[in-house]
């Protein structure tokens, strides 16, 4: 087989996990109006102010228009053709892993996910050893001792309404953008984290989350507050393939870091990307923003994006506190007909604020991968520093890589540096690997992981290993 056709196969791997059968659900009719929002709010027993907040967002949304500036192309979304409330009933559970699609099991195996966890992910009835409720309880007890609040946002609204009220919408206002407004009006659920003063969260909020974050719905809302001197590392998503009935996902994530607090937010996104011809697939329109509100605070975003048909996502940091630090590390892989327009915004407000951007785009197939980033230094941001590195790697000759960095500097003490390169996986590289006994598929994985190393290193250890395998899998084919 010649190199080109091997490459074609390598990048031509299908997402083998289509949609599953319908789950029995309690449904509202399609469409969005005030009554729908009232219904959602009522079902969640929300306080009156929350309903008002949602309704205000809905009013704002109605007068907004869908953004068209991202470098992506998709048929228009009919917002009246979406079901905004579907309470998941008990999932039809399988009795053992034997009933699970062997392809999925093979992927779990490749990713190295522990057996018990595999069962939960695949929807197999779990035994007493790893009952999610007991796991949850164990963690909750431990966290509660430290005063950490970690629960669904709907629960937080019941138990800690004052905290939610203080912070929700404080980083991403309801009218921030079209999808943020929509999310504010109809968000289903999500996570709430509060780390009290001086507390260092002792665990990665990960394993627990991976198991429990399922079925949070298409309009997820996350709010994380790190009080003075605290630290938390939060993991979102899952390397395992994610199936979902909903095509449109519009999540909002807000992070608040007070004085000397640090939030590390890591994402692995592997939603269904659509088939080879671009049919189906998730639209992932996410607003993620953190504010370094206090002095010496730090927010770090790390993302590994391999899924979704359309991705539109710019995890950002507002560097308000003096000496605060914002970081963005990203690997975005697009294959087949996937389109991604992703990047970050670093807004320097405080003195001596620093930001660092490392973006690694990988395009294969006929996909389009765009980096879009803004570095803005306001006149008051004395001594701001930014360094950005945006690299693109191309696999095959039918894909595209684009970089749109916006640099706006209004303070002469700032130093802003931006570098970008575009290169390909050369035939020379592949042949060299072949000559050392490494086949083309393994060579592509090796090269891609080397290329993305700087970002993968930012992930918590166990996640990094999985993410590395995920990159290989998402570019893998049945090389014969």
């Amino acid at each position: 087989m010649d190199q080109q056709s091997v490459l074609d196969e390598v990048v031509g791997s299908d997402y083998k996990y289509g949609f599953t059968s319908n789950i029995e659900q309690e449904l509202l009719p399609k469409g969005l109006n005030e009554d729908v929002i009232r219904f959602i709010s009522a079902r969640k027993n929300e306080p009156a102010w929350m309903l008002e907040w949602r309704l205000k967002a809905y009013e704002q949304w109605k007068s907004m228009i869908e953004p068209t500036w991202p470098n992506v192309d998709y048929p228009p979304v009919d917002f009246q053709d979406i079901i905004y409330w579907a309470a998941p009933k008990k999932k039809p559970e399988l009795n053992s892993l034997d009933e699970v699609d062997p392809e999925i099991l093979a992927t779990f195996e490749k990713l190295g996910i522990p057996l018990e966890e595999q069962k939960v992910l695949a929807g197999v009835a779990v035994d007493v050893v790893l009952d999610s409720v007991s796991v949850k309880t164990t963690f909750q007890d431990k966290l509660a001792e430290l005063g950490i609040i970690f629960c669904p946002i709907s629960e937080a609204l019941e138990n800690h309404p004052e905290l939610v009220r203080q912070y929700i919408g404080s980083v991403v206002p309801t009218n921030d953008n079209f999808y943020a407004a929509l999310n504010s009006a109809v968000f289903s659920d999500g996570s709430f984290v509060y780390i009290p003063k001086g507390v260092r969260c002792p665990i990665e909020l990960s394993t627990y989350f991976r198991i429990n974050a399922r079925n949070t719905g298409q309009f997820e809302r996350t709010l994380i507050i790190a009080d003075e001197g605290s630290y938390v590392s939060y993991l979102e998503g899952c390397t395992a393939p994610q199936r979902d009935e909903n095509q449109l996902h519009a999540a909002v994530v807000e992070l608040v870091a007070h004085d000397r607090a640090e939030i590390k937010y890591s994402t692995v996104q592997n939603w269904f990307p659509g088939d080879k011809d671009g049919n189906g697939g998730i639209y992932n329109f996410v607003t993620k923003r953190g504010i370094c509100a206090g002095v010496d605070s730090k927010i770090s975003w790390t993302q590994v994006e391999t899924g979704s048909a359309i991705t539109w996502k710019y995890p950002s940091v507002v560097l308000k506190g003096d000496n605060s630090i914002g970081e963005f590390y990203s690997v975005a892989v697009t294959n087949n007909k996937q389109q991604a327009d992703t990047g970050t915004k670093m807004i320097h407000v405080g003195r001596n604020t620093r930001s660092r951007i490392v973006s690694k785009g990988i395009s294969a197939g006929t996909s389009q991968n765009s980096y879009r980033g803004l570095v803005k230094v306001l006149p008051v941001a004395q001594g701001a520093r930014n360094f950005s590195q945006c690299d693109s790697l191309l696999i095959g000759d039918a894909c595209g890589a684009h970089t749109f960095p916006y640099l706006e500097v209004a303070n002469n003490s700032a130093t802003v540096e931006h570098e970008a390169t575009t290169s390909k996986i050369g035939e020379d590289m592949l042949f060299y690997c072949n000559q050392r006994g490494i086949d083309t598929e393994a060579a592509v994985a090796l090269i891609v992981n080397g290329y993305a190393r700087e970002v993968l290193n930012q992930l918590p250890m166990e996640f990094a290993v999985e993410a590395q395998k995920l990159l290989a899998i998402s570019l893998e084919g049945s090389v014969g």
């Binding site: 693109s392 000759d397 130093t415 290169s423």
Partner: protein, 444 residues
């Protein structure tokens, strides 16, 4: 509203011509109507337009312009004295000259070398000369470029510069665009078409000046056709007169083994917008794009560049540097576009900025749009101030801080000017830079 006035002027100018020439069906008229329609459709761009995001023209242009209609003067017209023009003329030494005064092309030299022509762009010429027809309006796009559309709508006359096969221009050509606004605000829309045939080589200097106390809105378009193995070096300079509003588009289509080199120099300038589009449309063609913006007070320069790699094996290099003092603003938007078939492209871009004052601003958007895989492309952008460490080094050697700063700033910017191969022009610009930086003492 300024927008309406300009659109009105364009409409009026077109009607005037078509009224006079009832059966106006030539190529030029069609082109003008297209320009008019494109302008009416797009309007004058606001910052909502992505390519005008950082450049709001409205505060800079008034609304009461008089349109100076383009035409040629056969008689010898004494061009008004203009110190900044004369300074350039003197610097470049022996040269061919042509002046456009308030739209009137005059001072056309008669002693041209045999393989070099300067022609009046007329409807008849466009209809009768295939090369002119082919190249006029082809490389300067009207869609997405409302000011190109405006210029085209007003294209009553213009200049065609033709360099015949293997012509090497023995002297540089200096085109000065002078606008006399001593009586009222004036809008001019000069149009130039350069046809460099196979193997031709030329240096062209295009400078923009204003005389008088009212505003001059100078919306110019120059299209260059660079045939195989032809080499064109184009220099665009602006006066630092406060009254000048220069919106200039320069485009080039470069063919096999040809090169197009551009130098866009703004040493001062209240409002300068340069759109430079270089299309590398045959293999082994090359584009070199250099720019200098040295601004103070409330000066403003926006450099928008596009390098379009259309075919394999082409090379482009781009270096833009800016120094912004006072409350000045510099904008740089550089796009490298590599089309799917343009394999083996090498394209490098860098943009560096020094901010000298706390009120100065810079906005940059260096874009790469890559659709081919076997390419080497990179861009780099930096923004900062003079290296404190370097200043300290100078001081440790007995050189005071201000001198050290001036010297480093001067060195930073002259790196780009050094690329200019016209010695006299380079020396003039170096001197003007030193003068602007109050660093004349540094000149040896």
């Amino acid at each position: 509203m300024a927008q309406h006035r300009i659109l009105e002027l364009a409409s009026h100018a077109l009607k005037h011509v078509e009224g006079a020439v009832a059966t106006a069906d030539g190529h030029l008229y069609r082109l003008r109507r297209e320009g008019h329609d494109a302008l009416q459709r797009q309007g004058i761009p606001t910052p909502r337009h992505e390519e005008w995001k950082y450049t709001n023209v409205f505060p800079f242009i008034g609304s009461d312009f008089t349109l100076a209609v383009n035409r040629w003067s056969r008689e010898a017209v004494a061009t008004p004295p203009c110190a900044s023009r004369d300074e350039i003329a003197q610097a470049i030494g022996d040269h061919y000259r042509i002046a456009i005064v308030n739209g009137v092309v005059c001072d056309v030299p008669s002693d041209l070398q045999a393989d070099f022509e300067i022609l009046e762009l007329t409807p008849e010429l466009v209809d009768s000369d295939e090369a002119v027809r082919q190249h006029l309006g082809t490389s300067a796009p009207m869609h997405g470029h409302p000011f190109v559309a405006l210029n085209t709508a007003l294209l009553e006359s213009g200049i065609v510069i033709r360099l015949r096969r293997n012509c090497t221009l023995s002297r540089p050509l200096h085109i000065s665009i002078l606008t006399d606004t001593s009586e009222s605000p004036i809008m001019v829309a000069p149009r130039i078409l350069v046809i460099a045939e196979e193997g031709a080589e030329a240096d062209i200097v295009q400078s923009h000046h204003v005389m008088g106390s009212h505003l001059a809105l100078d919306v110019s378009v120059c299209e260059c056709h660079v045939a195989p193995a032809a080499h064109v070096r184009y220099h665009k300079l602006v006066d630092d007169a406060d009254q000048l509003r220069s919106i200039a588009t320069i485009t080039a289509e470069v063919h096999r083994d040809g090169t197009f080199t551009s130098h866009a120099v703004s040493i001062g300038g209240k409002f300068v917008r340069n759109d430079l589009i270089v299309r590398l449309c045959e293999p082994s063609s090359q584009g070199f794009l250099y720019g200098v913006s040295l601004l103070a007070d409330h000066e403003f320069t926006d450099n928008h560049t596009v390098v379009d790699h259309m075919v394999p094996h082409c090379h482009s290099e781009e270096l833009y540097k800016g120094i912004y003092d006072g409350a000045s603003t510099g904008v740089f938007n550089g796009k490298i576009y590599v089309r799917p078939q343009a394999q083996k492209t090498t394209a490098y871009q860098s943009n560096h900025t020094l901010l000298l004052s706390s009120k100065a601003q810079v906005q940059a958007k260096p874009q790469l749009e890559i659709w081919a895989d076997d390419v080497k492309c990179s861009h780099g952008a930096t923004m900062g101030q003079v290296d404190e460490e370097a200043i300290f080094y100078f001081r440790a050697r007995g050189i005071d801080k201000d001198t050290a700063k001036a010297l480093l700033t001067y060195a930073f910017i002259t790196e780009v000017v050094e690329k200019i191969t016209l010695d006299g022009l380079r020396d003039l610009l170096t001197t003007r830079i030193a003068r602007k930086l109050s660093a004349e003492a540094l000149l040896f």
